[in-house]
Amino acid sequence: MTTTAEKPPATEVGVLGWLKKNLFSTWYDALLTIGSLAFIYWVLRGVIEWALVKATFSTEPGICKKARAAAAAAGETAGACWSVVITNIKVFMIGRYPGEEVWRIWASLGIVAVLAALTWWVWRAEAMREKRRWVVIGWLLSFPVITILLRGFSEESRVLPLVPTDLWSGLLLTFVLAIVGIVASFPLGVLLALGRRSTLPALKVFCTMYIELIRGVPLISVLFMSQLLLPIFLPPQMRLGTVLRALVGMTLFSAAYSAENVRGGLAAIPIGQYEAAKAVGLNDVLMMALIILPQAIQKVIPAIVGQFISLFKDTSLVVIIGLLDLLGVAKAVTGQTEYIGLQKEVYLFAALIYFICSYAMSYSSRRLEVAMGVGER
């Protein structure tokens, strides 16, 4: 009897083995594989031909018309004309933000990039654990700093002249709405979730009613309400800009959904965790902050990130209240006479940006789950 290890048969390993196991293991698997490939080719061929092969990338004025006329003369369909995207790229990114102040956006991006690099560097090594708090403080400070940087002080200021939020537009506005909305709504959602599970009847009823009310109406109506009702509630000397009012609306809206996600996580924590936390002498606040919430949130990361992605995409609804986010700018660009007939290119470009950002969030959420799942089997 031999105990030497043998190599598995060639048909079981490597590329061939993988193909056989996953794509051609039975005759109907093979049929499905070939059918799917044919379908993918049929769909993609048209798209690739339109978007790349026959497309025009030149920004020369009038070239699109020429290309279309040539295609029509040859009896073919015309390819995409990307000049509309290329010439307007700055408009898509920052919209009406004044051109001479663009350095402020670059500076803000620089701050974020430095913080992100620091975070990655510090979180990688266990030895840097003590420095983590400084990175967190850095992130917290970045919010007021970037806000001041982007908005400026007053119209007379030499260093940072005022850029009213009405001028914030394009992808910049989309990011501002999404990031501030996410960062502000999450803690609010956690508080609402805790309130809904509270034993104090008044608090519980208030939180439950708030959550159900907000979840019962569409975001658009919340956005309208925040535009129309906030000025009535607030004292007249506190005038909030349209962007700020939209932010309040989005935050209040998203918080209700975050609350329900967090509540789901809270419900999944066994009673023994509460008892053990109490038995070692933790008070209610410490018990929640150190034992219950970390576990509850970890359990619902996928749902919470899903909520963030949905909030990010929902920022496009602010068009309705007259703000020009990425989609609003796209709409405005396609409305110009020189770009008539180029909606496909513009909207596809916008969709691509939304997809990249959403996918990045989804990917980070999976990484976060893995990183936080240590110790769970």
Binding site: Q273, E275, A276, V280, G281, I291, Q295, G375, R377
Partner: protein, 256 residues
């Protein structure tokens, strides 16, 4: 913590403790006094109220009638009294209830750092000493999910001891363990008992009771049916018919 303290002061006094779950009368006037350094074992059939009773001592369950006085502090609805008492009482649960998102060492240092306000190095030094005492210092940087049941329960004991409690409560500490792991946990508990810790242990491990218990209480239907001294227990374990009460005899003959 070496040797029995000379005082015979009562550290836990329970007088006529009643509790209801809805209409169900779980505890029906329990009277029990535990002296400093005493090891008390509570046993009885399931549903007899023994777990509920020890959980009233650190207010995981609220009693609705009667008095509970721990180390001179009366358990009332005053949250300060409840916290003061919980800081004096360590508890070990049937299901271990370790914090799964924290490493073993952080499970142990959490309460000393946040409740006792010890500096981190002091808390960690004591945590390592406690892990050595329960025999698993090498597991400090693992997560609870990576340990066996017996190891988890020993970490739970270390976590409770880290607060330097005056009293330890054990709620069926070996019931969720595989047979080969029961001994490693009981050995730690025996060592703890011999070091002079005041302990109330809900368990059916009569070997443990015979070795270290000063008194054994038999519970049934929400009250104490019979109390045996260490000597009486040894006789009753040899021959359950020596117990005074019929229900105790029946129970002992079933579990032995």
């Amino acid at each position: 913590m070496e040797g029995r303290p000379a005082t015979t002061e009562d550290i836990i006094i329970c007088r006529d403790v009643h509790k209801w779950f809805g209409d169900f009368h779980v505890l029906r006037g329990v009277n029990m006094t535990v002296k400093r350094g005493e090891v008390v074992v509570i046993c009885g059939p399931s549903g007899s109220g023994k777990s509920t009773f020890i959980r009233t001592i650190n207010r995981l369950e609220e009693h609705q009638k009667g008095d509970i006085i721990v180390d001179g502090i009366e358990l009332t609805n005053d949250i300060r009294n409840i916290h003061a008492i919980r800081e004096e009482i360590g508890m070990v649960f049937q299901q271990f209830n370790l914090f799964p998102h924290l490493k073993v060492i952080d499970n142990i240092t959490l309460a000393p750092i946040w409740v006792r306000k010890w500096p981190k190095d002091k808390a960690e030094k004591i945590a390592i000493e406690l892990l050595e005492r329960v025999g698993i210092p090498e597991q400090a940087d693992k997560y609870p999910g990576q340990l066996s049941g017996g190891q988890q329960q020993r970490v739970a004991i270390a976590r409770a001891l880290a607060m330097q409690p005056k009293i330890m409560l054990f709620d069926e500490p070996t019931s969720a363990l595989d047979p080969e792991m029961i001994k490693e946990v009981l050995d730690v508990m025996i060592e703890l008992a011999q070091s002079g810790m005041t302990m109330i242990v809900v368990t059916h491990e009569m070997g443990f009771a015979r070795e270290v218990a000063n008194r054994v209480f038999f519970f049934d239907e929400g009250n104490i049916v019979e109390e045996l001294t260490a000597e009486e227990l040894k006789i009753a374990i040899e021959d359950p018919n020596q117990a005074k009460e019929e229900r105790t005899r029946l129970f002992l003959s079933q579990i032995l």
